[in-house]
Amino acid sequence: MQGMKEASLEEKLVEKFGKDKVEKFKKSIEDYREIPGSLIAVMNDAQEIFGYLPIEVQLFISQEMKVPLTEIFGISTFYSRFTLKPSGKYKINLCMGTACYVRGAAMLLEKIKEKLGIEVGETTEDGKFSLEPTRCLGACALAPVMMINGEVFGRLTPNDVDEILKKFE
């Protein structure tokens, strides 16, 4: 019975995310299985591979790592890096650190919200952009900064927003 159940969960994941991603994640689990306390590392990998942690992924981790689902859900919601919903194609990480705040990040946020018509933590209807402010990118000297899919834009004013977003359209 156990074997059948396992296969079906894995099959669901393959259907949703494709075989490559699931295989990659299974390898990551193998790397960590024997290391005590490595649950967060596994979840970090899952977040990176799948882009978010839907319930199927959490169940799969629970089953493979032999940790109750409640604990996994608790961790998923505790740490800000883990998300339960998928992000847009382009993730806008606007830095909300102190240095950026002092140099006007709040105005940038208003401008982006207005431009995309979404609130913090939301994704545009076409699934293109999601707005996820972040604590500190550590590029304080270039404040205010934002990062879109890893690319950093610094010394921004609200007027730069249109042009930058255009690049990704």
Partner: protein, 596 residues
Amino acid sequence: MLYRSHVMVCGGTGCTSSGSDEVAERFIEEIKKAGLDKEILVVRTGCFGLCELGPVVVVYPEGVFYSRVKPEYVPEIVEEHLLKGRPVRKYIYGESLEEKAIKPLEETPFFRKQRRIALRNCGVINPEDIREAIAFDGYKALAKVLTEMTPEQVIEEVKKSGLRGRGGGGFPTGVKWEFAYKQKETPKYVVCNADEGDPGAFMDRSILEGDPHSVLEAMAIAGYAIGANHGYIYVRAEYPLAVKRLKIAIQQAREYGLLGKDIFGTGFDFDIEIRLGAGAFVCGEETALLNSIMGKRGEPRPRPPFPAVKGVWGKPTIINNVETFANIPPIILNGGEWFASIGTEKSKGTKVFALTGKVNNTGLIEVPMGTTLREIIYEIGGGIPGGKKFKAVQIGGPSGGCIPAELLDTPIDYDSLTSAGAMMGSGGLVVMDEDTCMVNVAKFFLEFTVDESCGKCAPCRIGTKRMLELLDKITSGKGEEGDIEKLEELAKTIKATALCGLGQTAPNPVLSTLRYFRHEYEAHIKEKRCPAGVCTALLSFVIDPEKCKACGICAKNCPVGAIFGKPKTPYVIDQEKCIKCGTCIDKCPFGAIYKK
């Protein structure tokens, strides 16, 4: 191979963000084209400190400092400087230019007052090549410790140095080590806290990116001192470059036999594992960090028992911050007395700060303890941009406080900062000018704490939320008499009753702004006015019809299309649409727009 010249291109996060990768590639390409690739080496280093002027390039042996280098400048620098020996003055950092000469980097105002101990190799070596670290005395202190010193002697030396924890609390490092050394239970663990969560601070990140081996070496030394064979580095996943360089460094150290079994043939084993944080500020608190290392929610627990008694897996553990560790090898090599000769009576050595905000030279600095805030902001930092007036400097992040202009001559040390209502914290220094509203700053930090409170204890979970609601009320113009007193009462209760350091220090930003800028709170409450012109609910932007020439520049530049008008009639701002960004004020050529 011996090179006649080295081109050091900063590969820190600041410079990488401003495009230093392309600059480095261009240098490699152009140097090859000029046939100089056997004579000149391009090195990607860690942070030089002057991030404001990035991408930064330094050419040795002369020490010529090029700032804000664009890829298109590179052919000229290669042709003129590297080939013909004539530095290109127009791209050189202005402060180092003299009429007929170029000053070495160390003599410019930004560097003159600094003393680099923890940052000694940042910007000097290629952090991805262990041989460069070794050439700069890397692992020499570990060799000394393992071959010439007993654990007791190591602890004695660290105690003698007077080194105190650089992560915030300022607990004497040697005493912490001794405590763990005396524990009978085994195995023991060494943990490096690299969960730098303070927004506006990037000291630890710069050390990990610029000189990861100094931290690995120090952890091994600590392991020898307390009797541990295993170390964990707990680092934020948000620091991908630091994680990558740490992984490379650990791998190389293992290959060279500097980590792993039987180090230097002395029979001492020590290895290090990286644990990634997943974004929770509270994990900087040591008991929360321990839980996170063990793969649990990062919730703190009451102390005692201290981690030195019950830490990772319930075993004796020392937890030190990155910068604390980076100071250890020089202390071992030069002696505790040498370190203790730097700094003030109770705060020894140097401190690294991330200098940011409204200051000309933003970046990473390291100064002897006892340096005054004025020296840091006006001499090293080059003062406030745009001729604005200095208002306050925020130290210590969400747990710290704001220090006003009257106290600019406060020396930087643990005790002076605490008595000024701030704290050393991990070393974020955010400069604020007259355009910053102090009530809004307090609100900014409270928003942060409310968001990051883990929710385990009521004073922090509920108390900070209530404080934030009061601040919201005040900044949106609904403040009433008595609100300030309520804030004070809540602050005192939270400080006295919260479970961990995060909660106990959360009210500090409010208390310190109340202490020095009470008049700003009162102006918001009694006069419904924001003196700095920040709190948007309390101000509006208007165009003076007398002064407006109907040129339309404001309307063209308004990012939200809130300004309307026709030729020859004064323009008007739609108050509903206006986001109060201030662009129109900056753009109006006639000074016709103002806040009221």
